[in-house]
Structures are given as C-alpha cells and as structure tokens.
C-alpha cells in the first residue's frame, strides 16, 4: 500500500477526533456496506467553523481524510468550508492511492452534510451536492 507519510501521520495521530456536545450541525456520509462511515460535528460562530470533530469507521485513508479535512476547514467561513473539494483534501495529504480517492470524497460529503444540517437548523436554504460519479473507478481484488 503506497500511503504517503502525511496519510500515515494523520491516520496514526488523527486530529479533531471525537464529538461536540450540542453541536450546531451534524452530518454523516458513507455506508457500512462499503466499509466507510464518516460523521462530522460542527460548532459555528459568526458564520465561521469555530470547532469541528469527527468519528470515522473506515480504512486508513478514510481516517486520514477526515483528520485532514477537519484541519482544513477549522476557522474557515461556512462558505469556504463548503468549497473544500475532495481534491484539496487528497492534495493536502500528498495524494491518495487511486482506489482510495473515494475516501476524500467521503470527507467532502460529510462536511457538506454537516453544513446543510447547520443551515437547516438555522432555517436557511440548504445547498446542492455535486456528483462524484467519475470516482467509482474499476476496483480490483487482491488476495
């Protein structure tokens, strides 16, 4: 498995792990069938992500992506946080193996879900998710 040093670091020492009591937004992405579930907790103040925590079930790159994504959006405006792309997460991790790119998508989606939950609670209009179909690439089985 060709994980970068950064992925291994964030996997072994994940940042922002945990829950937030009475969060302003909670979002989840993924599916236990696929082996990946990411849950994001937000504390928002003055339109800024004041605090963010995650819990993730998934492989090393899923955990590293959660950790990196939370780092990247912490302190950012909600708008900025929404605009974080999976590519940016992967790049910040010095890349992910091709078959693992979907983990970074999951991080983006979980943050979007949490933001939309926040917007809903605020009575604001929610945003639309873009599709990531191109990432369901051909997977191969090793034994």
């Amino acid at each position: 498995m060709a994980y970068s040093e950064k992925v291994l670091d964030h996997f072994q020492n994940p940042r922002n792990v945990g829950e937030i009591e009475n969060p302003d937004g909670v979002g989840q992405a993924g599916n236990p069938k696929c082996g990946d579930i990411m849950k994001i907790y937000l504390r928002v103040k003055d339109d800024r992500i004041e605090d963010i925590k995650f819990k993730t079930f998934g492989c090393a790159s899923a955990i590293a992506s959660s950790s990196m994504a939370t780092e990247l959006v912490k302190g950012k405006t909600v708008e900025e946080a929404w605009n974080l792309t999976n590519k940016a997460v992967a790049e910040a991790l010095d890349g992910l193996p091709p078959v693992k790119m979907h983990c970074s998508v999951l991080a983006e989606e979980a943050i979007h879900a949490a933001i939309n939950d926040y917007l809903k609670r605020q009575g604001l209009p929610t945003r639309e998710e873009e599709s990531h179909d191109e990432l369901v690439d051909h997977h191969v089985h090793h034994e």
């Binding site: 994940p14 236990p32 069938k33 696929c34 079930f57 955990i63 193996p97 693992k100 997977h139 090793h142």
Partner: protein
Amino acid sequence: MAGQWRNEFKNSRKGQSEMSRQVYLDYAATTYTAPEVVEAMAPYFTESFGNPSSIYSFSDRNRKAMTKAREQVAAVLGASQDEIFFTGSGTESDNWALKGTVWKLAAKGKDHIITTKIEHHAILHTGEFLQRQGYDVTYLPVDEEGRVRLEDLKKAVTDRTALVSIMFANNEIGTIQPIAEIGAFCRERGILFHTDAVQAVAHVPIDVQAMNIDMLSLSAHKFYGPKGIGAMYLRKGTRIENFIHGGGQEKGRRASTENVAGIVGLGKAIEQTASRMAESAPRITTLRDMLVDGVMKAVPHAKLNGAPSGERLPNNANFSFVGIEGETMLLDLDRAGIYGSTGSACSSGSLDPSHVLMAIGLSHEQAHGSLRLTLGEETTGEDIRYVLSVLPDIVAQRRAMSPLWEDYLKGLQKESR
C-alpha cells in the same frame, strides 16, 4: 533451522528499531521458503541447469531430481508419481481443472460445474469466465461455519454435470470440508471431483484414494516451498484438455520448460513439512487455541469466524470486531510489528468485503471488521502473548473513534432496557 530463519527475518528489518518485535501471522498468505529447501534447490540454477527434455547425459541429474520430487508429492497424497503434474501455481492448477474439464467434456453434453460460494478467486473467477463463455456453473451455499451440505450438492447435480470442485480447507476461515463424503458421492455418480487443497496439503492428512479425489491442486509456497510452483494430482485415466498448450513436457500435459529448481524445492518442502505434521499440527493448534481464547476474553464483542477447533485448519484464527475496519487494524498491528490479514474490501481495493465472510452470513460491518491471523512453524507462545498484549488496545482505540461502534453500543443499551 527455526533460529536461522528467525534471525534472517529480524535482520531484514534492521531499518526499524532493534527493540521492536516481529510477529508474522500470515502463513496462509505465504510461508518463507525453508532454508533446507533453498539448499536443495541451489544446484539446479547454475550447476545442473540442463533442459530435462534434452536427451544428453548432462540432464540426467535433472530428470532424476524431477522424478524424486514427483515421488515426494505422490507419497504425501497417497498417489503414484505418474499422477503428479507440475504447474506454475495453485491458481494455474485450479484453472486447469475447471477449464480442462469442460473443454474436454462439453462436447459430450457435460458443460456444468458445481462449486461453492467460498472458493478462492482462482476457482470463482475461472467459473465466472466459463459462464461468460456459455458454460453453466452452480455455486453452493455453506452453513454458518463454512461447511458445504451434501444435500445441497446432491440437489445441484444434473445429467450435464461434468465436475464438482470443492476446496479442501478454506483460506480465510480455515473450515475443512467433508471431502471423503463428497468424493464418495461423486464417484458413485460418475462425476469428476476436483479439490483445491492449496491450504490443506502437508498440513492435514490427505489420501486421494480413500477420499475418491480425481484432481487436486496444491502450491509450494503454502508449505515452506518457493513461490511460482504448484502441482496437480490427476488420477490415472482422467482425460481433461490441456490448459497450457505447447511442448511435450509433463508427459504432454503441461507445456513449458520445466522449472527444475522450483520442482525440487516443492518436493523437498512437501516431504519435510508433511513429515513434521504429527508434531507441528498439535503444537500449532494449541497456540492457535491460546490466541483465540485470549482474544475472545480480552476483546469485548469479538466473534470467531469459521468452525470449531478440530474442524478447521490447525493454524487458522479469524475474528470479527464490530465497529472497526480491517485495514485500520492491519496498519496498527503493522506498527507493532505484527503481520496479519483482513477480509475487508478496503485493504483489497475491491468494493465488496470477503465473499467468504458474506457467505457464512456475516453483515457487511462484521466482514469489514475481520482479522485473520494464521500461524506457522516459527510461531511461539511468546509471539501469541505479545499479540494478546497489543491487539485489545488497538481494537479499543479505533472503536473509540468509530461512529459504528457508538451506534452498536446504543443498540445494545436499547436492547438491555
């Protein structure tokens, strides 16, 4: 010998802290090649390198060495040496058995194969290929411990059934199949019977005569032989099409210049490993049971997959730890110098978790959270104690950050109310 490998194994890891312990528990994936096997192979690279099919005296030694290896394999299986054909891998033997049978028998209206849902991909993907080619393949279900039921097999047989292919022992959960009963049934019905015995050979007793086996696949690197060499037992008189066509090697049944060194290594390895079976199988079983008991005690909500001790391979332990994902565990164990395997899809790059774990009725979550530890001749009690000192914390730490585990605990609380 034991010490020798252990030293080499440790030396090869010098880059890492000298303090760190190394515990290899993936013998089902592959074994080291035993030093005495490497030694037996050595003369056939640079010294006695002649093509065994060439008639000159320079190749006499090679021809004799190949005959000896054939005898060594035959002795372990209860076969005769002219029923042993060397191949390039266990996978190749599996491909040969399935493809060779229908290619030969389809013309006689026998175009149906029966196998199981828990076979190795070497069988499953070959079956799927043959289905794309228009042949018919039935995949039998198994019970919760991974056993095929004879009634299911009986129901699946038709007039067109050419071959039953059922593995001897499963590579993930270690469950051993009722091979003798299956063999007796197939013989009675006049259907060819193949067994993928890659995980079983030299580790549990096999007798192709008593068990009515017509074809059997094996692979050297599962019993301390080299990688890239396998064999097929083909009962005398069994007519199947060749798989690799070409020169007349292996009595015209498997073409390619003979891998003499590999063949010698396979022969030496099977003889040596099988000769130690009576001593090593109980020892490894004891260690495995110690591992299983320890894990089940120390890790809450752990599940042992497969059949009970006695009905599974001596060296196999397979657990599911709900709430965590397999690859995560492997990497955490790796940091602790422990090398295992998982049925999680994530570690394989596939979309689905282990088809074997799904076939025995696990949920996706359970399958993703599986860990296979397989022991071998170098495994010690100290190794197992070390694993038991490390694994429970790893599971606890990763569960603490898992939303699935959170949900699972909540579910338990609800239930108990």
